[in-house]
Amino acid sequence: MKSKNASGFMLNPFIRIAGWQSFGLGLAFVVLMGLIGACSNVAFDGVLDMHLIKDLTLLNSFLFLAVDVVSLVLVMWIAGLTLSRNFRFVDILGTMTLAKAPFLILAIAGLFTTAPDMTQVIRNPVMVFQSVSFIVLLLLSIPVIIWSVALMYHALKVSCGVNGNKLTITFIVALLVSEAVSKVLLFILA
């Protein structure tokens, strides 16, 4: 029963935490992701993206994360407005920021990862299997992204107080749009 509650809390902490409280907690995770990501060369260059980049600067690490969070929050806020008028912006801000927290696992895992030489991988894709740590990071990224998406879904659900197909469809569209917006913004800033 206790483990069920714990897993429920891990998937939907927003029943208990939202608003400024979750924003503060989410911001702490984002700052850690920025710092550790810069050390491990893990760039979060998109709402659902993670790439290993050579010589990632601290400034770029935080710039990527800022673009991610801003794109996600703004698009989800607009999506929320189409679902309900009866919600607070600070709940979307806080819950969506905290929903990025699982990516911290990838930033930490990146510290133990050696990226394969991509020019060689392009010539011979089998070369990628020579870097076990890289494969582990790739495999780890799947549950982390699923966890983060589940958190984002519950963030929108709790913040706007809506259910059903309309929520699911709006969420999927908003997630894809936020990913596209973050990519466009990063392209412009680059």
Binding site: F14, A18, G19, V158, C160
Partner: protein, 87 residues
């Protein structure tokens, strides 16, 4: 807790008889239950808490150890139930 639904067919119950404990007079009829009495005991507790907190959802959230939007969603669910009963 006042029963509000039929234990056999789950239909809404009505008040058939009220009795004065002082003079033993009984008033018989078929009266609808008040809207608030039709809500579940959890919903009634929520409304009591809402009134005691002067309608402050923020204070209720901290008292119930829930987030503000969760408490607001619970209130919205009760409002929807009341709207349904009033129809």
């Amino acid at each position: 807790m006042l029963p509000t639904y039929c234990p056999s067919c789950h239909a809404q119950l009505k008040v058939k008889c009220l009795k004065c404990e002082n003079c033993q007079t009984e008033v018989n009829g078929s009266y609808d239950l008040p809207v608030l009495a039709r809500l579940s005991s959890d919903d009634q507790q929520f409304i009591l808490r809402f009134v005691k907190n002067s309608g402050s959802l923020k204070e209720m959230a901290s008292e119930m150890k829930l987030s503000y939007p969760t408490v607001r969603n619970l209130l919205n669910e009760i409002i929807n139930k009341i709207d349904t009963y009033e129809k």
